[in-house]
């Protein structure tokens, strides 16, 4: 059961969005999210929706993969909608018994839903079209200026990519330890929450020990292969901007400015 969990929900296919430089996609996602929050009226949301639809079409990722990410936030969404609908003061739209729904509430709930849905979908497009590797590479390059204020960017990114590499290994190991403990009569399923949490101790302790051991081994293997931090390194797959990346930057910039301006001029 544990094996079903996949991290980094990369969808493999070949599209113009897949081929874009990860830095472009990271920046575009940030710009897209910013414009979602700057925009107030539905004109802006419609424009953003169109843009998103276009990008999804270009990425050739089936729509159902986009929606998949939504399942995780469905409760959050329902919660927010319900509270906004019923608890926003204003002009009543409908009244049942003691509960009043206001026009302002409807508007707020709709704004919130659109924002959240588009936010999740927008960032899904990035994770679905970029390999975790590419993503960390892009982050390393983008955050490079932080080096001057003594942020160890290379080291942090290296840690992230090692973590990504070891996640499947540790999952397999968890599975193995779990089975070994179940074979000896451990019970992970029954009892209340506290009991369940307690029953995880015999699972977590060996897992941690083994993780430390692996870390030790890995550090030695890395040193044996001349790893000594970021300074001397060259890149096997350096990130180089191509024409399409520059065009993409222009597009996303034009989109952001355009959406915000049009939203202000024709509020809906």
């Amino acid at each position: 059961m544990i094996r079903d969990i996949t991290l980094g929900q990369y969808y493999q296919t070949d599209s113009i969005i897949h081929r874009l430089d990860p830095r472009v996609k990271l920046v575009a996602t940030v710009f897209f999210i910013i414009s979602l929050f700057v925009v107030n009226g539905f004109t802006g949301f419609i424009l953003a929706g169109l843009f998103l639809f276009l990008v999804v079409k270009l990425s050739k990722v089936p729509f159902k993969f986009m929606v998949r990410g939504m399942k995780a936030i469905i409760f959050l969404l329902l919660f927010a909608v319900v509270f906004n609908l019923f608890l926003t003061p204003g002009e009543p739209a409908a009244t049942f018994w003691k509960i009043t729904i206001t026009w302002e509430g409807i508007r707020l709930a709709a704004t919130l839903t659109t924002r959240l849905v588009m936010l999740i979908m927008g960032s899904s497009v990035m994770t679905l079209t970029t390999t975790p590797n590419n993503l960390t590479d892009g982050m390393e390059k983008l955050l490079k200026p932080l080096k001057y204020i003594k942020v160890p960017v290379h080291e942090v990114v290296m840690m992230m990519s090692i973590a990504l590499r070891f996640i499947p290994i540790l999952f397999k190991e968890t599975d193995k330890i779990m089975k070994a403990q179940i074979a000896r009569g451990a019970d992970f399923e029954s009892g209340n929450l506290i009991k369940k949490a307690k029953s995880l101790v015999p699972l977590l302790v060996p897992l941690f020990i083994s993780a430390f051991r692996r870390a030790n081994d890995l550090a030695m293997a890395m040193e044996a292969r001349c790893y000594r931090g970021g300074g001397h390194r060259t890149k096997m797959k350096p990130l180089i901007y191509k024409t399409r990346d520059r065009i993409a930057y222009l597009c996303i910039f034009a989109f952001m400015i355009g959406t915000i301006v049009i939203d202000r001029i024709f509020p809906l």
Partner: protein, 282 residues
């Protein structure tokens, strides 16, 4: 010039209690002198705790001698200045295949060493291709290491070392965690490197079958070199090996027992089934 030379190499593990007082000293390697010529295939044999892995870690400047010295290609390992050169000259492959693969894609892992050395991008790609071809893993270059078998993972690890263009590769029990077919795969790759690329190989193992092809064998026990010689010489001393708690290959043991019970005409040591058949036919 000898590629590896140790002079009275001694290494002690110091165990300390919680307050930092010395509790005990374990001498893992005890005054070991070895000389290895470039291009040799050396096997180091020994049961668990005989000090063979500790010795191996000295050859890559991961551990430094407590006493004595180690020279790799004429460079002293305890000299901080040469450490990165030494690690490039003497590459190291470890036991657990999962714990030494850094990349999430085979080719990226092989490129890790050259990246660290500051090799230009175009040359990294050349090196990666040539090393992956040398171990027969080129067609798997785009795969995730998680999808490979143990033997394949170890071959990727070897390619990762090979891409750094070492003169010598130290393999610290590379087959201990593999199944028999994976073991064969790895040993075949290692032999090919020695034959074709003339890379010096130091193979540390406790599987006897794997040392048959070595030029010379060192048997270690309690931190000391207990026996040296060609595999044939070593295998003719079955009783000594048994005293060192090492298993002799079944064929060798069979030939030895046959000879002991009076069968004439057998050579002093039989290494393969073919040899025994040949000898028995006469």
């Amino acid at each position: 010039m000898n590629i590896i030379k140790t002079k009275k190499l001694t290494f002690e593990y110091i165990r300390r209690d919680d307050e930092g007082n010395i509790e005990g000293i374990t001498r893992a390697v005890d005054e070991v002198d070895i000389d290895v010529k470039a291009g040799e295939f050396i096997a180091i044999l020994g049961h668990n705790g005989s000090g063979k892995s500790t010795l191996a870690k000295h050859l890559n400047a991961i551990l430094y001698p407590t006493e004595g010295s180690v020279f790799i290609d004429g460079k002293d390992t305890s000299d901080e200045e040469h450490i990165w050169e030494i690690r490039q000259i003497a590459g190291m492959v470890f036991q657990n295949p999962d714990n030494q693969i850094i990349g999430q894609v085979v080719e990226e892992d092989v490129g890790f060493g050259p990246e660290n050395m500051g090799v230009p991008t175009a040359e990294i790609w050349e090196r990666v291709e040539e090393s992956l071809r040398a171990v027969g893993m080129y067609e798997h270059r785009k795969k995730s290491p998680d999808r490979l078998s143990g033997g394949q993972k170890q071959r990727v690890s070897i390619a990762g070392v090979l891409a750094m263009h070492p003169k010598c590769i130290v393999l610290d029990e590379p087959t201990a965690m593999l199944d028999p077919s994976g073991r064969k795969e790895v040993i075949r790759a290692v032999r090919a490197l020695n034959d074709v690329e003339k890379i010096t190989i130091i193979l540390i193992t406790h599987y006897m079958e794997e040392i048959i092809h070595a030029d010379r064998v060192f048997v270690m026990d309690e931190g000391k070199i207990a026996m040296t010689g060609t595999p044939r010489e070593i295998f003719s001393r079955v009783d000594e090996l048994k005293n060192l708690r090492l298993d002799v290959p079944q064929v060798t043991l069979l030939a030895y027992e046959l000879k002991k019970s009076g069968l004439k005409g057998l050579p002093p040591a039989v290494l393969t089934t073919g040899e025994l058949l040949e000898a028995l036919r006469i």
